[in-house]
């Protein structure tokens, strides 16, 4: 913090600002351009668009293919999110409250799917689904998505449990609440920001997931898969419109996460 003044007056700091500005431009400009292009009124993409309109949004929101894939993706995410929260939170509690000597080992197992490349995970899941004859169905997508979302809940909730003052739960228990009610009335409300973060992560990850679902589907199409196949065929403004729609949803959720301070610290629970 205090190094700010000390760097402030120096040339290298100005250079740093220049580089960072360029990097941020590199990160954000493509997305901004994409959003602008999605509002073109023409039948082709160009920048800046000669005229503006919401023609392509109308097309997307009336096209059966797009709507089907959007609703499939939303349905999957809507089922995955609460399940992932419940299972991930249970696991985080087990790690926090269980024997300390097992904690590190178990935690590694709980977040293992995160370090496995999704291509390998997808391949394995596809084999499993074929074996059980559940490919191209919810029965395959839901467990698959849970496997990649649960680690995020475990991490987010786990971080918050670590700073949670357990005497609060004990106070509740001494007042007549059993373990479950103590957690329900005291712990969960207090770690709510972490639960929200875990939920948002789960939703976005499931909604955006491509490669694993790509393996598991044959006829059904989630939104990312529909976008991919459209893209392989032709780049039309409708793809920019769809992209902007997903971008809007995720940007909104991300902003919520950051404003609640949950990305940097899962610990500022008690204000």
């Amino acid at each position: 913090m205090s190094s700010q003044e000390h760097y402030g007056s120096r040339l290298p700091y100005k250079f740093l600002i220049g580089v960072v500005t360029l990097v941020i431009f590199f990160l954000e400009a493509p997305l901004i351009i994409l959003v602008i292009q999605s509002f073109t009124a023409e039948s082709y993409l160009s920048f800046p668009p000669p005229s503006y309109g919401i023609r392509w949004y109308k097309e997307v929101l009336t096209s059966e293919d797009w709507l089907n894939s959007i609703s499939l993706s939303l349905t999957i995410a809507a089922i995955v999110t609460p399940l992932s929260l419940v299972l991930g939170t249970m696991a985080a509690f087990a790690l926090d409250r269980g024997p300390k000597k097992l904690k590190n080992g178990l935690q590694t197992i709980m977040i293992a799917p995160m370090v496995l490349p999704h291509i390998v995970l997808g391949l394995g899941l596809f084999k499993m689904a074929l074996q059980l004859d559940i490919d191209d169905s919810m029965l395959a997508y839901i467990p698959a998505h849970l496997t990649i979302t649960i680690p995020f809940v475990v991490i987010s909730v786990g971080a918050s449990l670590q700073t949670f003052e357990q005497s609060l739960e004990e106070a509740a228990r001494s007042l007549g609440a059993n373990r479950f009610w103590a957690v329900w009335y005291i712990t969960l409300p207090i770690i709510r920001p972490a639960l929200i973060a875990g939920g948002i992560f789960s939703f976005i990850i499931s909604f955006d997931e491509f490669i694993i679902t790509f393996f598991l589907t044959t006829f059904q199409r989630t939104l990312p898969i529909e976008m991919f196949s459209t893209l392989m065929y032709q780049v039309k403004p409708s793809i920019a419109a769809v992209s902007t729609l997903t971008l809007a949803v995720t940007a909104f959720l991300t902003a919520m996460l950051i404003l609640r301070g949950q990305v940097t610290s899962g610990d500022k629970v008690i204000k």
């Binding site: 005497s167 609060l168 004990e170 001494s174 007042l175 059993n178 009610w181 204000k271």
Partner: protein, 357 residues
């Protein structure tokens, strides 16, 4: 009837023995304090009474019912934590109401009982505040009200004033004691602060290394310590090793010859002699013409001004170095004492206590 009774309670964590066989009882309406240095097992004992820790062996009963394996929520104990442990997401009123809700008290009954509890701790005006909006003392009172509202068989407090400043701590001490006597609630109080223990308790249980060192009224604990540990731990004291000489008439304590008032048998060796610093009298040599019974002479080697008292180190001629305290009465005599002064030291009967055993 005793409210809480512990019989040969032991708690081990693997190799570590946190509590090594404790017997303890809190009678109905009694205020008992567990006093001891850090790590002696006070918190462990209290948490076993609350039910958070299961004893390795021994039995524990609350209200004459065996509670050894009963989980915390099925015991009616009121617990107050050092950090208060107020629920940060609930108002003061909701905090206090929580226990009633958990015990399925009717909604219509809860309101008046919460009100009553808040009045008890004089917080009826702050019911709608959040805990974060309260001062430390107020938070402490909410914690007390929350513990009391469920009308517990016993109130358990673990260093409840540890986080308060000195003034507030002294104030809360009086308040808690008054409340306890008004409600006649059996109380088990944990502290490592002897002033707190001495001023509040009906009985004090001094603990050391997981064992009970002595149980007694505050006066007994202070004036008649039964072990070297208690004598050392409570108050400032000089403890000297002595042997009986002159056919049982005197005791030679490290060179200091004292009359054998306690009538210790002749020839006894290695006895512990406790000299309370505040009972010893010192005067500047030759200042008092009437000083006929000046038993011994010494020299002041250090002097510490502590406000209400002044503490001196006095090197007795051919004897030990003693800590002596004098009330700061403002007398010139006292003020004139400085390091290097020769003093006459006298020991009234009350100053000398021979530890048993």
């Amino acid at each position: 009837m005793s409210s809480v009774e512990l019989k040969s309670i032991v708690k081990k964590y693997g190799e570590v023995t946190a509590v090594a066989s404790i017997d303890l009882s809190v009678e109905s309406g009694e205020f008992v304090t567990l006093l001891g240095p850090s790590g002696c097992g006070k918190t462990t004992t209290l948490r076993m009474v609350a039910g958070f820790i299961r004893p390795t062996s021994g039995t524990l009963s609350i209200g004459d019912v065996d509670m050894t394996g009963v989980p915390p929520h099925q015991r009616t104990v009121g617990l107050v934590f050092q950090n208060y442990a107020l629920f940060p997401h609930m108002t003061v009123r909701k905090n206090v109401e929580f226990g009633l809700k958990m015990q399925k008290v009717l909604t219509s009954e809860r309101g008046p009982r919460v009100q009553e509890a808040l009045e008890l701790v004089q917080l009826e005006a702050l019911g709608e505040r959040m805990p974060a909006e309260l001062s430390g003392g107020q938070q402490q009172r909410v914690a007390l009200a929350r513990a009391l509202v469920i009308r517990p068989d016993v109130l358990l407090l673990d260093e409840p004033f540890g986080a308060l400043d000195k003034q507030l701590r002294d104030h809360m001490r009086v308040e808690l004691r008054e409340l306890q006597q008004k409600l006649k609630i059996s109380t088990l109080f944990v502290t490592h602060d002897q002033d707190e223990a001495l001023s509040m308790s009906d009985r004090i249980v001094v603990m050391s290394e997981g064992k009970v060192s002595q149980v007694g009224k505050p006066t007994e604990i202070y004036e008649k310590p039964q072990t070297r540990f208690v004598a050392d731990f409570i108050g400032r004291s000089n403890i000297l090793v002595g042997k009986v000489e002159s056919k049982g008439k005197t005791i030679n304590a490290e060179g200091l010859i004292l009359p054998n008032k306690g009538n210790v048998v002749a020839g006894a060796e290695g006895i512990s002699v406790m000299i309370r610093p505040e009972c010893v009298e010192i005067t500047q040599s030759g200042s008092k013409a009437t000083s006929t019974s000046a038993d011994v002479k010494g020299k002041v080697t250090a002097s510490i001004y502590l406000g209400s008292i002044v503490q001196y180190s006095v090197q007795i001629n051919k004897g030990p170095n003693l800590v002596v305290t004098q009330n700061n009465t403002g007398s010139e005599n006292l003020k004139n004492l400085t390091v290097g002064d020769d003093v006459d030291v006298s020991f009234p009967d009350s100053a000398i206590y021979i530890l048993p055993g």
